[in-house]
Symmetry: C2
Subunit: 213 residues, 2 copies
Amino acid sequence: MADLILTTFDWVPDMPRGYVRDLRVRWALEEAGLPYRVESVPFRGRDSAHFTHQPFGQVPWLTDGDISLFESGAILLHLGERSDALMPRDPRGRAEVVEWVFAALNSVEMASLPWSLLAFSGLKGGTPEWKVLDDFVSIRLRHLEPVLAAREWLAGAFSIADILMADVLRLLERFDRLTEHPACRAYITRATERPAFMKAHADQMAHFAAADR
Amino acid sequence: MADLILTTFDWVPDMPRGYVRDLRVRWALEEAGLPYRVESVPFRGRDSAHFTHQPFGQVPWLTDGDISLFESGAILLHLGERSDALMPRDPRGRAEVVEWVFAALNSVEMASLPWSLLAFSGLKGGTPEWKVLDDFVSIRLRHLEPVLAAREWLAGAFSIADILMADVLRLLERFDRLTEHPACRAYITRATERPAFMKAHADQMAHFAAADR
């Protein structure tokens, strides 16, 4: 089996630490018990080699033999195909995981991340612009809440869909947006109490802390 | 082969016509030449059966035998596995398509759709909130433009990644956001001149127009 190499930044400011998207990949790799190593690229001064692997100048990307993959969703699907711990083999179970992978990224995060950009910029408030984005988040959470109240994990057993959805919701929780959504909060707790999350999170924090020295 | 059934709304207001996400599925089905039929659910008065298929109360969903799939990205990946016209078979080519599928939905649309919500609400303007979202779109387009200037399609041959990226960009074009991005505009033109797009678009328009009578 070819070495799996996860590439992330060498350093990031304090604010995004614990939330950089290499966390999703680390978490999946830990759940699956797949061996991997971590490499770094400069946060400041992204060169053309960086853009060859990640055309938007972001992280992470994963190399697996002669395949180099960017986008956390694409990387997790790729890993899901390598481990039953991340995605079932049967077509119906697999389809259910894949639809929730996209729901996390294209239904929930498409609302929550722009909302978080405003919250992070100190623009949380009563403006019409804020209301449009806040309503967008509300409508998603209103439908997600009963789903998460009724099941432990999104697609039967724990899967890559839960890694993505829990990580997406973590950012809303950070900005106190889930106070009226107890099932979403309980789901985050279930997910982040998993040893694979805790190791992935600690490893990311240690990786960036090492660069401060 | 089981019948493929695409479900969309029975009617929508004028504004979203031509942009409802069943278009992406129709387009892929037309490219692949896969037979399908279209069913409708009420736009007004979404019942519990609707939420069973689509937990966020949206459209489309696709049924393929005993599999029912929501999320346009998940549906297109499913169809991609059924046709070489939509996604190559070799692992490396497939990985390239999958990463661009996620790039369209989680890097570009995550910026462009919230921006469009503000534009649609008449909130295009000089506020700090608008600037955060407009900058988010700018940074994505700045990196996408040279990619699309250098290649005809995102992942070698035309694929489901192009269906998604072109459809995402169409909404920015509608609000005149691509005037400084000629490669993005030329790419939309290449994509929407394809007979499969033209048929899918005409079929969607006819479907909703029929409900007006």
